[in-house]
Amino acid sequence: MATLAAILDRLSARDVDAFSSHAQTREPDSHRIRAFANEDVFFFTKRIDNSQIVRQQDPAAGRVCWGMIGASMAGAVAIVAVMLPALYGAFAGYKLEELREERTRLTHEHVLLELQEAKFLNPQHLQELADKQNFVDPDPRKIVYLDSKHDGTEAKRLTPPSKDVAR
């Protein structure tokens, strides 16, 4: 890109001539590479030979480097170690809440099943079932109370015949 100065120079003939003469009189430079057209930007190359340079051993820098790496790792581990219980706690919290809700649900279900059981055991319901099956109450004569005594007797009264003291 031409600079504003170059553009102005070109606009004046004198300056143009001077520019041309300057360009023509300048010594050719071996390190100069071809410029862009109409640009005042010039590029040069420089050859540098580093083949003779020898890297000097610096044990202190290595220690510093490894120290940095170690410290970073330790910091990372420490951060993870500090956060891990909290993270575990959060996950455990989710699990606990799920279990608590499950327990509540099961408790409710249990109560409803108890109610269902109680309804099945309703004497009225049992009577209806018995009627459907043509069951009848046993004849009192068919009922025998078995209460084995040490003397081998059966169907004998369970309590003394006379007990006139209130319990």
């Binding site: 809700e101 409803l112 004497p123 009192p140």
Partner: protein, 661 residues
Amino acid sequence: MELYSTTRVKWLARIFLFWAILIVGRLIQLQVLQHDDYKKLALQQQERMIDISAPRGALLDRTGERLAMSVPCDSVCVNPMRIPDLSLAADILSRILQLDYLKLYGQLKLRADDHQGFMWVKRKVTQEEADRLRALNLDWIEFRTESKRVYAYGGLAAHLLGGVDFEEKGNSGIEQALDEQLTGRPGAIRVTTDVKQRGWQSKLDMEPSPGKTLRLTVLARLQYVAENELKKAVETHHCKTGSLVAMDPKTGEILALANYPTYDPNLRPQHGADVDAREDLAVTAPFEPGSVFKVMTIAAALETTHLRPETVVSCGNGSITLFGRVIHDHNSYAALAVEDVLARSSNIGAINIGLKVGDANLYAYLKRFGFGKRTGLPLPGESAGLLRPLKQWGKTSIGSVAMGHEISVTSVQLAQACSVIANGGYLVKPKLVLGAMTDPPVRIIKPETAITMRHMMEGVVIKPYGTGFKYARIPGYSSGGKTGTAQIYDYKAHVYTHLYNASFMGFAPVNDPAVVVVVTVNGTTGTAGYGGPVSAPVFREVAAAALRLLDIPKDLADEPLPQIAAGNADENDVALTDLASDAPQPLVQADTLDQRVFLPASISGPRVPNFLGKTKREVVEQSAQDGVPIDFEGVGIARSQFPAAGSSLLLGQHVLVKLAR
């Protein structure tokens, strides 16, 4: 140039400083000055309180069967501010919850306009309704878990259990009386939620305290039998009401307490519905007991006079004049032994006995039996009955009270009094909750008096002329009792009507009573409406069921009850003051005074089966099948038996089976 750059940097620094001051200031405003407000808002978003239900305590029968229990149920609520379309919401909710659309829409609109953030849509919805709403997965519909009282056995023991209101607060029966024990205090847990409202941390805010489960003394199966038999009796005799109390005389535990009519506590009372069915008659409705009260009169006589069961007292040929007031008997007797006064239910005999006891003694003994005082059952509205103070007794009151008039008692009081006779003389307070502490038993009559009374009451049942003879005998068990028929007083007309309170008060077995049953049917008419034919059969069925359910061994031979010709005492039972029969009655002969008959010896027992060669178990099964009582000797196989197979077993006789290996 340098100055210019420095100035720019300084300005930049000032701008940054000002910006930092603004930030810090804002932070101070948010985190310090408005800390509490924002914390509250944050907690509202991040925390939610969850109620930990503390259900109302269940009511169990004495075997642990659940009579009343609280079950969780859902209630539907919304935040009207969050509802995107009120009209659509009202449409959805009204269709599923069976609500009126316009009314619901109006309520939603009103609350949304008032910026109210909560509204109950319907409480205690059915499971099906809740499931349908949940399936919609609409975030503005919320569910709250509440509790609903359910009576698993429907109307069984309805008067006893009572009921609760919508907030599960007891409003009748035990639910009301023991509300404090039954009511639980719900707890709360504070749950921290994430952005998706999933809980991840919780903290117990308040410990829940569930209501106490109470085990009652009632036996559900006996209660069922009692209610059925009472209903049958009331409906058969075209009466209006009835009540029944079955009680363990030794512990005072109420085994059954039934009333008719009854109701289903699961159903909310409808506006204008008849509330009479909800009245616990056995506890709250006193009545004139009539002839059953002669038991107390005679017991007082045995305690305070020289009268004995065989002592003959005058029955005035059916009428007596007390200070100008003429009292007639239903049947006229010249004289009867005291035990036959009870068996035949002679009013004049009872009056004469009462006169011998005297006002003061009779009053004192009635107080001792617990009349005129509440029994202390944990039921609301219990009546103390009416026993007027002695100084308010008229000259003829002794005559009325002796036969169960001028006094009113409840069925529970009668059961308590009958228990004194049954348990050997102790006044035992009735109780409804197992394990509940009650007053210790107090001896109020001598044991010999109680035993004598038991045998005299047995006479009512086993003597052919006893008023309970045909009705109160229980197969396999001895029983005793007393019938009662009292005219119902019309308080408007100030006259006794021809409607009766037909009662029976009895116990079984006689030697060691395990159950006392008091039955009262109100509003019977005619001779078929007396205590014997109406209430005694109810006693028989209920007592038999109680003895079976309580595993009480039989004390009589298993024989069919003798069919003895009618014409005994159906009509002998009325403690009336204005009815009389002029028919002459023969003086009871001395040799008929002791007419205690257990069973006629002529009736033969079952045939003895052949037990030989059978194991003990097979013998037991066979004997149970044939109704033959067995005594065993030895161990092993049945090697011999007496009586021999094929012979008829005599009454009370057991078959002796000898076992050997």
